[in-house]
Amino acid sequence: MSSLEAIVRELRKAARRALGARYAAHALVGAVAWVAAVMILVRLVPFERRAELAVLGIPVALAIAAAAWLIRRPSAALLMAMADIRLGLKERLSTAWERRAESGPLDDAQRHDAVQHAARASLPAAFPVRVNRGEATLVAILAIFALALALLPNPMDQVLAQRQADRVSQARAAKAVADAKKKIADSGKPSPKDAQIQKILQDAQAKIHEADSPRKALESITPAEQQLQKLADPGTPALQSSAQNLANALSGTAAGRSAAQAISTNPAKGAQSVRDLASQLQSLSPKDREELAKALAKASQQAQNSQMRDSLSKASSSLQSGDAASAAQALNDVASQLDSLQEQENTDQAVAAAINGLEAARQGLAAQADRDANGQGGQANAGASPSAGASGSGNGTGTGNGTGNGNGNGTGNGTGTGGTGGTGGTGGTGSNGSGTGSGSGAASTERIYVPGQPVPGQSENDPTPLGPGQDVPLSPYTQVIEAYQQAALDATDQSLIPGSERDLVREYFSQLGEPRAAK
């Protein structure tokens, strides 16, 4: 040891080592305490990223300890004083360091004496690297505690599983809506209201995605469906019926047969064919004209659309009076109405596709909401809930209100209040009951959107082929309702739902006015 500076350097090195070990131990205590705190927290609050949160504390604790270690630099005087005390140097080093610039009669001798004694001592021993027994015990206790908390069943697991299932359910519902949007966009049948439909679906998709729960997401579907239904033209069925009657009437005439086929294929082609027929009126034989006039007159009588009826009537009378030009003009008016029908059908088709998408979303969300209500939310994801045996029950009563349109397409919006005290197991939570709604409307033309729903005499593998311009099979209401009612009641019988809910389904069908009762 050549000088006091060398002593200080050696002491500083030893002190850094000892401090490093001490701060590492502090960091370890902090990290384990953090993990234990997180383990306690996740038992009180459902937190999904618990592992990340727990692990986060380790680098943070290490960083804080490292920063403290870097910042803390004991002064040379302190190092010397501590070395004096710990090595029994009788304040030689601290005195020598303090008076290193002094030149008193004994200062040189004192420094010489201090350096000599320091040379004989093991300076690193002044700052030994040792584990604090208290800290080690604390780390062990905290580690065991945290491990036990990690291994023991956590009641929050079921809540998390339910949340996960809810999210999956909402994602699927949102995807169903997105699929409907894509389907409408790719249909190749543009309608003037496509943009509005897309906007409604877009909003519904966003609300479903952002909803706190499937039940909240469900609440956004009904308004969207109502908005869509407002886009549908209620006069379309009448116009369709008129067009079909026209096609039936023309099919019996030689001149109008091709036009009848075209109208049956789709209104747009029918319109073109009717225009062609109008341009050929001059060249028709009197017999064909008379035959055509009668067919048009018959179609006019059957037409439910007033404009169509007027145009057909005018065409018929003009033909009978030999005014081919007026007849051609009237037929061109009919063609324009067929073009309009095509647009209305396209719109209805898009609305139907959109509602089907929303209904698909509703089914998934409703199923998940029911599972949540029964305290089985976690079952939507296989294996998502590690707490086997946890179960709960919920009950509730609901009141419903509904809206319907003239097409007999009803949607319901249910709100309910229910007991929140689910019982059983460790985590089941009861929730609200469910409500039902019913819609009613004039059954002038029966059209029901029942995707994949087979009608009597038709197997599931043999779906009804889509009609011209149709997106879903169209069947008469009377043919569908019985099977629909039966299927619904069978489903309620097979599901674990309260009897009151089952009665609600029966009541719904009875309110529809059908004479058939459930078996």
Binding site: I85, K90, T95, R99, G104, D108, A109, Q110
Partner: protein, 332 residues
């Protein structure tokens, strides 16, 4: 930075002290702490009050010290009828070339080494005759102040048990004493050795090992011993802790009437310096202060009556202070 040789040969102080102790130990059996404290006080230039029951060798110690030092030695036996002039001297009428005039007749105080035996037997008036001599190292008789020889060293003795007809030393007088050393009763082994040495046909003859010059040099050297700031602060904390209004110790607040004076701090530091030298060290350590705290402070702490009733001594108070005063390392 490190010099090859110190400019002041402090080892000579150590050797002097060791020689003194060795020589005194030839006559004084045991009592190592007594000898060490006495030598420390001598080297520091302070006066000593020796307290002990009769027969423990107090007077022998002082007389032996006089023999080992080639310096003038006086013994004053304090009695109730002793007058101040008997100590400091007086003016007497005498003939000088046929003329009668006053001449100053110096008292026994004019010596390097003064033994004030049974000092508490003299009246306060006589005791106070020592005040100026002990503090100023001068004597004023009439209008003339005369310096005392240097070094000047008073060793007083008093008996703590035979209190009838005695006059306890006033606080101001006590504070003049550098150390108050309690002379303990010898151990059984020491008693046997005392018997062997003093009941034979010969008594050990002590030789002189130092003169006044050596003692003065040692005193100057001792004052040069460096003391670190945090050690000095510790000494100050010790002294502060003896005051009931500053101490955190219940015993001090309850039993102490008045704590040590600043002179107590001076004594503590100076004695610590001397002890460091005697230990072969060139700096004052905490241990040095702790070691000299009892003799340096015990006569400077004045206890309440309640302390006497509870059997609490100043030594016990000092022990508690030493135990509870932190030796904080330097923080800068």
């Amino acid at each position: 930075m490190i010099a090859e040789e110190p400019r002041v040969d402090a080892t000579r102080v150590t050797e002097l002290a060791q020689s003194l102790e060795t020589e005194l130990a030839r006559l004084i059996v045991g009592q190592k702490a007594l000898l060490r404290d006495t030598v420390i006080a001598l080297t520091a230039g302070g006066h000593v009050l020796l307290e002990g029951v009769p027969g423990l060798g107090k007077t022998v110690l002082v007389r032996s010290l006089g023999q080992t030092l080639s310096m003038s030695f006086s013994r004053i036996q304090f009695t109730p009828d002793l007058m101040p002039a008997d100590i400091v001297g007086t003016n007497i009428i005498g003939d000088t070339d046929g003329r009668r005039e006053f001449h100053y007749q110096a008292g026994p105080i004019f010596a390097n080494l003064v033994l004030a035996d049974e000092i508490n037997r003299a009246t306060p008036k006589t005791q106070s005759a020592l005040l100026e001599a002990m503090q100023e190292r001068t004597v004023t008789v009439g209008t003339q102040t005369r310096p005392l020889p240097s070094p000047f060293f008073v060793l007083a003795t008093q008996n703590p048990i035979e209190l009838e007809g005695t006059y306890p030393l006033p606080e101001a007088q006590l504070d003049r004493f550098f150390f108050k050393i309690l002379v303990p009763f010898p151990s059984e082994g020491d008693l046997l050795e005392i018997a062997r040495r003093t009941t034979g046909d010969s008594t050990p003859q002590l030789k002189s090992v130092a003169d006044a010059g050596a003692i003065l040099t040692a005193q100057r050297t001792a004052r040069e011993v460096p003391i670190a700031e945090h050690v000095l602060r510790y000494a100050a904390r010790l002294v502060s802790a003896t005051h009931p209004d500053r101490s955190e110790l219940d015993s001090v607040r309850r039993y102490v009437r008045w704590g040590a004076s600043p002179r107590g701090l001076q004594t503590l530091v100076l004695a610590g310096k001397v002890r460091a030298l005697l230990e072969g060290r060139y700096n004052v350590a905490f241990d040095d202060l702790n070691s000299v705290a009892q003799p340096a402070l015990r006569h400077r702490i004045f206890l309440q009556f309640e302390a006497e009733a509870d059997g609490i001594t100043a030594d016990r108070i000092i022990s508690e202070i030493l135990e509870h005063t932190a030796k904080e390392p330097a923080s800068k």
